[in-house]
Symmetry: C2
DNA sequence: TGCAATTGTATGATATATCAAATATATTTG
DNA sequence: CAAATATATTTGATATATCATACAATTGCA
């Protein structure tokens, strides 16, 4: 007897991510900004580690190199990033945030804190910590059994 | 002071889903089948509720109507489903699994149980239950604050 | 009954995910 | 140093996600 997909914890994981992303996207949009959560995460990660290559960014945000390359394309088109050939390693491109990018990130800080808080409302640090441990173990299990 | 994206629980959620899907997809492929996990979940849900409309399927698997319509397209092309105009409600299409679909689902049953088991290895029912409660509350929180 | 609102599906547009392959540059190694 | 290998990015192809729109059929209600 097999559990149906929607009865398993995996579908709750998926559903919770989707609901969270929906909330986040809506709050970002309500605040008047034209970035997706994915793009925002990329920009925040880059702000934290300005030297990151696209490969490093991809690892940091669990995305494929190809996805990152295309997200950077879009962010360049939107005027939030510049791609400049690196002098140290000419395979690489330095990713330079524009002034409008910085402004946007600053203005979005309270928005991000708001939706994170709404999602995690009423949870204790202990609870969150327990779930985090669980997820880390789950990730470890999956990685152990897939190349 | 704001946590960086990759320090939050949301990124562990995202990462764990990706790792799990990767494991599952690989096991399905190793078993010699040409469906994605998404397609498999759709087919399993449909097997459980053969009368489902595409709208109901979409709700069941947390996907958009448009996604489901396109997934059904692909499954029809692959020969796993037939779309037949419903007699009761001519807006609807009845989704009829082919014999090869049934066979595939039967053969995949142990595969699915295997990768679920690998991912959840060493967790107790209590732990899983706690995480499920957490996720349900998280989903509820997000839904409460987004339309 | 007849029209308005709703429902089920399909499609278009764009963003992202994933795999594979191409290209350019760097690094290693014989 | 030259050739093999590795790394960083880009691009192509296809699947999926999301929003919007379109259209047909159904339902609800005046």
């Amino acid at each position: 007897m097999m559990q149906l997909p929607h009865e398993t914890i995996f579908y709750l994981l998926e559903k919770s991510m989707k609901r969270y992303r929906k909330l986040a996207q809506q709050k970002i949009q309500d605040a008047g900004f034209d970035v997706s959560i994915n793009q925002l995460i990329l920009l925040m990660s880059l702000r934290d580690r300005p030297e990151s290559s696209q490969v490093e960014l991809a690892e940091l945000i669990f995305k494929d190199f190809a996805s990152v390359a295309r997200m950077v394309d879009l962010l360049v088109k939107k005027g939030y990033l510049k791609r400049i050939e690196s002098k140290k390693d000419r395979r690489k491109k330095d990713l330079i945030p524009s002034a409008s990018c910085q402004q946007m990130l600053d203005k979005l800080t309270p928005v991000i804190q708001e939706y994170r808080g709404l999602a995690l409302n009423e949870f204790s640090q202990e609870e969150i910590g327990q779930v985090q441990s669980f997820l880390k173990q789950l990730i470890h299990n999956c990685e152990k059994h897939s190349s």
